[in-house]
Amino acid sequence: MKVPVLSTSGSQEGEVELPIVFSTPFRNDLIHKAYIHLESHKFQRQGRYPNAGMDVVAESNSPPTGHGQARVARMSGGGGGRQGQGGGVAMVRKGRQAHPPLAEKIIYKMLNKKENKLALCSAIAATASSALVNLRGHKVDKIDSFPMVVSDQIESVSKSKELSKIFDALHLSQDIKRLENRQKRRSGKSLLRGRKTKVGKSILLVVNDSKNLSKACGSLTGVDVVSVKNLSVLDLAPGAKPIRLTVFSKSAIGELGKMKSTHLELMVITR
């Protein structure tokens, strides 16, 4: 399949043949699985102080009957205060937690290499489908061909001003505007923990060398840059929802052609 290569001014600048990765069928189940598993690699283990609620001198009376009281463990000592209160067990006030989070629990979900590769291939191929990009909620009016391929000039851009001009020319700025006025103050624990606002994702730029371009994208809402070798399902399907509006540079398409996977080799044979 051939797609047009667009210049940074929006005009057509030739064509490029898409590599075999783009003929992988859409596997929503695998993309979902890969996302869930890869996301778990970011998580930090949580635990509580192992002795929390148990650093007390509390014993139950032996035998615990005949006092007209509940048979819970109680503090020893005298002089009021904590003396005589229940402690050291799960059911009482100031006692321990029944089932606290454990630091030993393994929350890192392992993912098979081949499964991950197939999910990635499928996600890359899905960027060529306008229906799937629409499904995620991106605005794609006046964009004719998917995936969008832009000439290598875009890789040398290092200023946001220049980049936003290019987005205007490629009809991509409408998707960034979609995210305007979306920032609402969140409530609850997330607010207290420094996650005040949440902004959506807009355009993903896949390039061969992201050194310059990553500087330019900082101030544009929802725009991310990733180099081909670091491309993952996490970038292509945020929230495990297929599929993000993706712009490839011409050399990035060339790099994707070198991608190795057992399923791609089999696909070549069956061709």
Binding site: F26, R27, S129, A131, T270
Partner: protein, 88 residues
């Protein structure tokens, strides 16, 4: 049918030794599908998702979910699709 509906009907291919051999022997690929989906809907969803027209479909309800045995025109077509999906 649009692609969104098709995603919700066909959940994933069901790969075991038995379904693996069905591809070569009976030109069939086994999918796990949504419990409420009907045979014509499954056929349509396969066409939308994989651009391959099925000949027929048989379904059965098991503890693993609803299985759909989708039959294709030839062994080659079934094998090609199975390779593309990543079954083989």
């Amino acid at each position: 049918m649009n692609i969104e509906e098709a995603i919700h009907i066909i959940l994933k291919p069901y790969v075991t030794e038995k379904t693996f051999s069905l591809v070569e022997n009976e030109k069939r690929i086994c999918f796990l599908v949504k419990e409420e989906s009907s045979k014509p809907k499954i056929m349509e969803a396969v066409k939308v998702l994989y651009n391959e027209t099925p000949v027929g479909v048989n379904v059965c309800r098991t503890v693993y979910g609803k299985k759909a045995f989708v039959k294709f025109e030839s062994v080659e077509k079934a094998r090609d699709l199975a390779t593309k999906i990543g079954m083989l």
